[in-house]
Symmetry: C2
């Protein structure tokens, strides 16, 4: 773990660069908005920890009424449980005896749930649960259009549910119906149509499981791009958004319906100009190891005529328009990551700032928790 | 820091996934080949630590005759110096009193050098050196065609050199003439032409500095894509390749001249199939947090008819051709990263394997050393 790039009380201008910085005012407004929106609709909120990997942020979400958190990996869940989080849903299939033993060990101190999309995976989870003397809640992941993991809705999902309830040590919590691909569809009409289809498939599958005599209390899913549709569906009982706490350049590209609005950008990488060899180019100290580039380069926040155009491992090239202020050594830029989740995963620390001061340093405890 | 994904002596098939794995036989052949090629030409080898961020690998390079290592960040250099490396060149401009104080502190126990491309940056480095009571070696970075950092060759570079030698606490080691953009030009003719131009600019600049009465002993640069040209130039005295120890999918795309050959692929991410919902698709447990995607997706090594086609945070989608073996839960894939340096930066551990056994676990000590 690297040394923190600032201390509480430091001036924002003294944060060592590059650093991952959260504007706490914007961040807290995002937390409140989502918490109130879920509560007002009577739907549970279980925010996704893969976005922030930070127990302090999970606690802030729980304090606002979240029922628990989601994780994507056993190692992530372990970091949250070790920090005191007591209800974790691993929104992923987990394969192999060693990982399943770790999953079951967590269930001794926390409520633990996991996904299954294949009858063949169930016996191993049952063995791990019984060996640890715990119960593991299982949800059937169904494919609602993302074509990633997930058993087909309807009868194939019922067969998985039946195998779960037949297995000692396991209990069926419900179905997981997350449409990842829909989150980044650019028009509100496309997102609405994709989720309408997901709602229909989730509804039909829940009904089929119940028709087989198996209770199916939970239907969980949704992300920052589509959560309003799942919330208002009458079918989903739980929402899993993650990125809403931070936002990023990619989510900002979604066009919104008139009754929707973007969460605020609260996450930034603060970088500094280390070279300004010509009037039209500045080089900053944040490159491929400071941002994930899968959703494009970062945006330069609040600076007109400066654009981040190219990256190498530890350099970012900023193109400076002729009528923009000329770059100077030491100039600081606030950059909006293209994709927040894998960018956060590059940092050991989140620097929380309020106004001109550093207020807190939060460890990204689950950074690098790949296994 | 995450727990290691294996222990020495484990079977390779028992490594927890996803894991960063190095085939030690191929890796050692790569080290030997480069060491011998530099030694045979009478050119110094100073491999770049930004590729591996691992003191054990730096030591293996030094044992084979490397004169020291390169780093890109002060934090990286600190990790290597803390592990006992005694000669470090930071191949980057370093700005700001706090970072420069750390750079100077290292010079108490190691030979430390850094780049400058702007007269305005020199006084700060001098202040830091004198405050620590050390000497810092400085190289003038010139722009030889990458259009990133670097002062213009010729007279502007001479002015920087003159300012360095006038500054107490600093000494001029020479010029840094690295052409990063040339490394990935695809044809041998393009790379040869780009480096011929870089050699000419480096030569002219060195001559101009010496004509001003300033010794300029070192001309350093080169990478895994072009090192033979700098080595044979008669101008470069030192080579800085990094990726040759591992290789990656992007470097494998370079077409080579008849007298050149690729280093061996020694770096892999081992991932496992966690979902195989349909015959034509498998989902592995390694996605955007397990690979850098700036140079494209990973390649599936040694498996015909399987292709890594899409990634989300913790999922990789593998397309399976109709005539390829069908995917099964738990299947293990060896994946070749698109770009080795930022992929290594995602892992806390390198798993060294020889044949069917894990031989060693090396910490990626400088992972996340951004500042």
């Amino acid at each position: 773990m690297q040394a923190p790039p600032a201390r509480p009380g430091d001036a924002v201008g003294d944060i060592d660069t590059p650093a991952l910085v959260v504007d706490l005012d914007a961040f807290e407004r995002n937390l409140d908005l989502m918490a109130n929106a879920a509560r007002g609709a009577g739907v549970a909120l279980r925010p996704h920890g893969k976005a922030h990997k930070c127990p302090e942020i999970a606690q802030a979400q729980l304090e606002r009424g979240a029922v628990g958190i989601c994780c994507q990996k056993v190692g992530e869940a372990e970091a949250f449980v070790a920090a005191g989080i007591r209800d974790v849903l691993v929104t992923n299939e987990i394969i192999g005896g060693a990982k399943l033993a770790r999953l079951a060990a967590m269930a001794k101190t926390a409520t633990v749930a996991v996904l299954v999309d294949d009858v063949a995976a169930i016996p191993g989870i049952g063995v791990a649960a019984r060996a640890a003397g715990v119960n593991i809640a299982v949800l059937v992941e169904i494919n609602v259009g993302a074509n990633r993991c997930g058993v087909a809705p309807g009868a194939p999902a019922v067969a998985v549910a039946q195998a779960i309830v037949r297995t000692p040590g396991l209990s069926l919590r419900g179905i997981h119906a997350y449409h990842g691909a829909a989150q980044h569809l650019r028009t509100p009409e496309e997102r609405r149509a994709a989720i309408a289809r997901a709602v229909s498939l989730a509804h039909e599958t829940k009904a089929a499981i119940e028709a087989a005599g198996i209770p199916c209390p939970t239907v969980t899913g949704a992300g920052t791009g589509t959560w309003q549709h799942e919330r208002d569906s009458g079918v989903y009982t739980e929402l899993q958004p993650g990125s809403y706490v931070f936002m990023d350049a990619d989510y900002q590209k979604n066009a919104l319906a008139p009754d929707q609005h973007h969460f605020e950008q609260s996450l930034f990488v603060v970088a500094a100009v280390m070279s300004a060899p010509v009037r039209e180019r500045a080089i900053v100290d944040a490159g491929l190891k400071a941002f994930a580039f899968d959703s494009g380069p970062p945006l330069v926040y609040g600076a007109h005529g400066w654009a981040y155009v190219k990256a190498s491992d530890e350099h970012g090239v900023i193109a400076v328009e002729p009528d923009a202020p000329p770059p100077r050594l030491g100039d600081r830029l606030w950059l909006v990551p293209g994709h927040c989740d894998p960018t956060v995963n590059l940092y050991d620390w989140i620097v929380g700032v309020r106004g001109a001061r550093v207020e807190c340093l939060w460890p990204v405890a689950a950074r690098g928790a790949l296994g």
